[in-house]
């Protein structure tokens, strides 16, 4: 099959699609069958293969399968998008999401959202994707319009979007994704277009800018097809014939890439983006083999095109680290030889201190990747493993299918675009905490070493010299607290999600108690790592319900949950609260805290077991015994 510009070449090929699909369909157990279908989805699939795979998944029907999350996604569009649905579902399956898709009536997104009798309301979406064309906006602005007139038209469009987003959120409590406007326009003046405010290409660029800023302030995520179409070329995305025939703004051959871009954002909203980039060394970070070629023999840096290509790859890795991606090394080498390159090679951009976990030995790489995940206290499904050696890649894919392993091109010049195009580290926000995270994980590994040398856990915790600062969730905490609430899956007894606006409203409501906790220790400032929202029962102001409590997995096992409960009990007691109520709603990911409430002295409230398996808990504050911890307090709570 000829390659198209939207080809997803980071995915490995599958030699026998039909055979694999047949084998999957022969599996009678629906869980095992979905596993197998998800495995097929990890591969590079053609246009028809994507449709066939989606049909095989659809035949399973809507079911709850362990290891997969179900999502109801509504797509509201002013162009035809039905042909994109199979690709969206397959790309979501690639990320462990089983998606039920509702496509709104063509061009009826306003009515669908506003009319409570619409099919959209019956569908009850958890995520809403708005895919709109810029055609109406462009048509309404004459070519001689001034900047002010253009801005007025753009503002009108953005205001309307803002209303739709709010409506979508208020009505359905859904996360919202807004697609950027695709620029499928043609030049009117030539190069002079750039100086004409109402030239269609200028107008769309400005519209996308304004819309993106508005989306950010409304906690709406972007699906930037405009940028993607610049990467692949607009002709790869937009086909005039398909527009005239069927009002498709995204052409069918681009569907699989569109699906992957959409799935990245939906996965990122659920905290499923990758966290750690694990790097091989020889012929990945530099040209040549350090064990054979020596420090002078390896190719890295200026003076050689290959050396510059490897340097560019290192720079990109460093850029990722600066935005919060953890870097690790997994190499078959003598440790001292490998580390010496980082210490002594003058052209190395990556320094040893940039690497949070460094493993160079002769063991199996899959085993080493497990060690890296353990040392960093992250899941194997958070790892991306980059290795130039196809045998190592195949071996890791075989034994650790949850680790993402891009099919690195042979030419080192194309390492960066391969990794960048794959979109493993899709983000929906960027905070100061993010930029510090890589350093915090490196500190985590040092803590692990301390744990190894400590006599007991008590000894270890004391040695950490921890302190906590805390207070109500304030304006400056909102972005990070929102991120934490929406990304945390493990320490999250209720898995409730809130947008920035919703959290701001909760924090501002005087009847609620909100708390945020920052943990410091001798290795690093971990930043805001826990947040709590307590709300009174209507009519029972003396009882507070723990609506939400989240904690970053980075600080598990440090007694912070005990200190946080101490703080919460004190804050609530001062207000005359008599008791707490809490729910633990089990999910696939929060089993680690199944014993949280009893361990803090809560008593189980007996009840008829609800369908979601939730347990209800109760704590009489007067009976609460202060939990001793090794965490000092460095600020008083101010009410």
């Amino acid at each position: 099959m000829p390659q198209s510009p939207t080809f997803m070449d980071w995915l490995p090929t599958l030699s026998d699609f039909r055979g694999n699909l047949r084998a999957a369909l022969a599996i009678s157990d629906s869980g095992n069958r979905l596993e197998k279908l998800a495995n097929i989805a990890q591969h590079r699939l053609g246009f028809l293969e994507t449709i066939q795979l989606d049909q095989a998944v659809s035949r399973l029907g809507a079911l709850e399968i362990p290891g997969f999350s179900a999502v109801r996604l509504a797509i509201l569009a002013s162009s035809t998008v039905d042909h994109l649905v199979p690709a969206i579902r397959v790309a979501c399956l690639r990320r462990g999401l089983v998606v039920d898709v509702h496509v709104g009536a063509y061009g009826q997104h306003r009515q669908d959202l506003l009319n409570p009798a619409s099919a959209l309301h019956q569908f009850r979406p958890q995520a809403i994707l708005l895919s709109l064309t810029a055609r109406e906006t462009i048509a309404g602005v004459p070519i001689m319009a001034t900047v002010a007139e253009v801005d007025k038209a753009i503002d009108r469009q953005v205001d309307e979007l803002r209303n739709l987003w709010r409506k979508a959120r208020e009505t359905f409590k859904a996360t919202v994704v807004q697609q950027t406007f695709l620029d499928a326009t043609d030049t009117v003046f030539g190069s002079y277009d750039r100086l004409v405010p109402a030239a269609p290409s200028r107008l769309i660029a400005r519209l996308n800018d304004r819309m993106s800023q508005a989306a950010d302030s409304e906690s709406v995520s972007l699906l930037d097809v405009a940028r993607a179409s610049e990467r692949n070329g607009i002709d790869a995305w937009f086909d005039r014939g398909r527009w005239f025939q069927a009002k498709m703004e995204v052409s069918p051959p681009a569907a699989h890439l569109y699906g992957d871009l959409a799935a990245r954002v939906l996965a990122a909203q659920r905290g499923l983006s990758k966290k750690c980039l694990v790097l091989d060394l020889d012929n990945t970070l530099w040209g040549g083999v350090i064990g054979d070629d020596g420090l002078e023999g390896i190719v890295l840096g200026q003076g050689s095109a290959l050396g510059e290509a490897h340097l560019a790859f290192q720079r990109y890795a460093l850029q990722l680290k600066a935005r919060g991606v953890i870097l690790a090394v997994c190499s078959k080498n003598d440790s001292a030889t490998a580390e010496a390159v980082f210490e002594n090679h003058p052209e190395m951009v990556l320094k040893r201190t940039d690497i949070a976990a460094f493993i160079a030995n002769w063991h199996d790489k899959a085993e080493n990747l497990k060690t890296i995940a353990t040392r960093l206290n992250i899941g194997l499904d958070s790892l991306v493993f980059v290795d130039d050696n196809p045998v190592e890649r195949a071996r890791v894919r075989e034994s650790l299918p949850m680790v993402a392993v891009p099919e690195l091109p042979e030419d080192a010049a194309r390492f960066v675009p391969c990794l960048a195009d794959a979109g493993y580290f899709e983000a929906i926000s960027f905070t100061v905490e993010d930029s510090q995270r890589a350093a915090q994980y490196a500190a985590n590994a040092e803590r692990e070493d301390l744990l190894g040398s400590s006599e007991s856990v008590d000894d270890f915790l004391r040695g950490l010299e921890m302190s906590v600062s805390f207070g109500p969730i304030g304006t400056l905490d909102l972005v990070r607290a929102t991120q934490l609430i929406n990304k945390t899956n493990q320490f999250n007894p209720t898995t409730r999600r809130y947008t920035g606006d919703e959290l701001a409203a909760l924090a501002a409501a005087p009847e609620n108690v909100t708390l945020q906790f920052r943990l410091l220790d001798r290795f690093s400032d971990n930043g805001l790592v826990s947040a709590m929202i307590l709300r009174p029962d209507p009519g029972e102001p003396e009882v507070l319900e723990i609506d939400t409590w989240v904690m970053s997995c980075r600080v598990f096992g440090r007694d912070l949950e005990r200190e946080a409960m101490n703080v919460a009990v004190e804050a609530a007691s001062r207000r005359g609260v008599r008791s707490f109520r809490a729910s633990y709603i089990p999910t696939k990911k929060n089993g680690v805290i199944s014993n949280l409430y009893p361990s803090l002295g809560f008593a189980r409230v007996e009840q008829t077991v609800p369908t979601d398996g939730a347990t209800r808990w109760y704590l009489n504050l007067a009976d609460y015994e202060h939990r001793p911890t090794h965490i000092a307090r460095i600020s008083k709570q101010h009410d």
Binding site: E49, H83, G241, A246, P252
Partner: protein, 80 residues
């Protein structure tokens, strides 16, 4: 590729597209005779042929095809 090769390829594509192995296209087959070959799947079919063979149909062609034979004939002409 002979006309028969192209017809065989079309049959394979439409079977995959509709998950229906019972379909066998002939030169005389009309779209409405094939269950589920609706307008969306017609576009998908055309897109699949274009991807598979590296050809490109014009808007006038797509509107004018009376039967499968006409699509085969146009494809042959483009491949020549």
């Amino acid at each position: 590729m002979t006309d028969q090769d192209i017809l065989a390829l079309f049959t394979k594509i439409i079977r995959d597209l509709l998950s229906d192995e019972s379909i066998t296209l002939t030169m005389q087959t009309k779209r409405e005779e094939v269950p589920n070959w609706d307008s969306m799947n017609y576009i998908n079919f055309i897109a699949a042929v274009e991807i598979e063979l590296g050809v490109k149909f014009g808007v006038a062609d797509i509107e004018s095809f009376e039967d499968v034979g006409a699509i085969v004939a146009k494809t042959t002409a483009m491949l020549r």
